[in-house]
Amino acid sequence: MSDKATRDSFGEVIKQLGSEFKNIVVLDADLSVSTKSVTFAKAFPDRFFQMGIAEQNMIGTAAGLSFTGFVPFACSFGAFLAGRYETIRVSVGYSKANVKLVGTHSGLGIGDDGYTQMGLEDLNVLRSIPGMTLLNPADDVTTRAAVRWAATNEGPVYLRLTRQKLPALHKSESDFKVGKGIVLKEGKGLALFGTASTVVECLKASEALQDKTPWVVDFHTIKPIDRELIKRVASNSKVIITVEDHQVIGGLGTAVAEVLAEEGCSSKLIRLGVQDCYGESGDPKALYDKYGFSAKAVVEKANHALKNIL
């Protein structure tokens, strides 16, 4: 399997689902070429709505479409969807609208375009919406499963996708169960939790940290978070490191922190990600290093933490 951007997986699978389910409709706000909803637009022009650069109108319209029995996928960059928070809060969340928000261009991983185009607070703001499921898949197979799940289950979903290519990590769509982290390596002492583009960073780091026998877990679902798995990992781990291409406030790290505190777990938690600051333009790899959540950064943090604890 060659590397693939999860937005490309979305583009392929939404088209397949479009022929399976006649009630799927897709909306986009002048980014269909970038979000890949263009594949659906070409195949089903009658069920595709080009809304222009008007995300708020798109999201409200999606809510209305859902009230007539359709399953709308509303697509744009995650930054621009999450930016319409209040519309999502009332027209989608409170209204229990069966709307699927598809936010691509997540995180520093988009590189050159810089901060305004990066979805860096999307998980944070949307996590606060009651009843919204947040999916942040790490590869092609799990993205396909996530889109299918969203299409066939009632309720608002935020699906967060990457512009950059990611390697294949999982074998089959059945590995993906909403709300259940996927254990890639069972471990003891140390745990590395990744989500989307950072799962592969965790895996790479785990190789350099082999003697520390780390867990590696893919948390593709940020909400509802897999409480049982976190408890299980914490029961034998001194240090847990969460790694995410998102602000450390309000994403995976925060969700894990809440569980650890509420369950009285004693593991030390280190949250890697964007440390409450703004992103910038640059090469994605260099940005992951600079902002401290590349595999290299994970290894350094892990070694440092374990040394100070033992």
Binding site: D30, I53, Y115, Q117, K290
Partner: protein
């Protein structure tokens, strides 16, 4: 129209240099937005070299006029102008979109002088421009606020909220240009979400509307002179432009919205710009 021929010739030659700087920057960065930078450059050149009160050495001079690039992705055009003005060292332009650079992919107000607003999320700049215009009025200042909008950008609802509010606040110190190049990402503006009738809409919202060729300096300066005569209304200058203007293979080609030229294309484009009669 009082602008003399030497002013016009001078603006044309600066705009040529800026076009070349824009393309050089984008080629080096290997990403960015040529189409909308080239459609906007003549207006920005006219503003910075013939209209706006500013002191390159004193960027935070209180009495400066303000320019807000609401369509932030067109920022290579602003960088090129700021470089020609001596605000950004020419060498620094080649750091566009690189890590640790001030020359961000979209304008960052905190990093560079004369970048009066951080834009790049479309639809926000006009409200900011309005706020600045209101602040200046409150302070009884005479300066003007200029704002450049993309046509696709005006599909954002926030734009129409300002369209409604600026006349209420009698912001005759707010002068807005619409860069009407009729292109956006998913296609031509008319297909994606038609804006017509443009002049009627803004007039109905109580703006002083003028229609010009956005690549004709005489018309740009003429419209500015007229806009400054307005006693109450904010001005909306509807500039008809060509996306990718100045480079034949980019002109009116949607494909050049957000793709950088390679070395060969850059060379071809520069030759064409240099060879063009001014």
């Amino acid at each position: 129209m009082s602008s003399n021929t030497s002013t016009l010739e001078n603006l044309k030659s600066i705009a040529k240099e800026c076009r070349i700087d824009i393309l050089n920057m984008l080629e080096k960065a290997a990403s960015g937005h040529p189409g909308g930078s080239l459609s906007a450059i003549d207006i920005i050149v006219a503003l910075f070299f013939s209209e706006m009160k500013m002191d390159p050495k004193n960027p935070f001079w209180e009495d400066r006029d303000r320019f807000i690039l609401s369509k932030g992705h067109g920022v290579p055009a602003l960088y090129a102008v700021l470089s020609q003005k001596g605000v950004i060292p020419k060498e620094e332009l080649s750091t566009l979109r690189q890590i640790n650079s001030r020359i961000q992919g979209h304008p960052d107000r905190a990093m560079l002088p004369f970048v009066e607003a951080s834009t790049g999320s479309l639809g926000q700049g006009l409200s900011i421009a309005q706020g600045i215009a209101m602040g200046l009025k409150l302070q009884k200042k005479e300066q003007k606020v200029f704002c450049l909008l993309g046509d696709g950008e005006t599909q954002e609802g926030q734009i129409w909220e300002t369209a409604m509010s600026a006349p209420k606040f009698k912001l005759n110190n707010l002068i807005v240009f619409l860069d009407n190049n009729n292109g956006q990402i998913d296609g031509h503006v008319e297909e994606v979400m038609d804006l017509n009738p443009i002049a009627e809409k803004w007039r109905a919202f109580n703006w002083a509307v003028q229609e010009i060729d956005g690549h004709n300096f005489e018309e740009i300066l003429g419209a500015l002179a007229k806009a400054k005569q307005e006693k109450e209304k904010p001005s909306f200058i509807w500039a008809k432009t060509v996306k990718g203007k100045g480079v034949s293979f980019m002109e009116n080609n949607i494909g050049w919205h957000g793709v950088a030229p390679n070395k060969e294309q850059l060379e071809k484009a520069i030759n064409e710009i240099r060879g063009a009669k001014s």
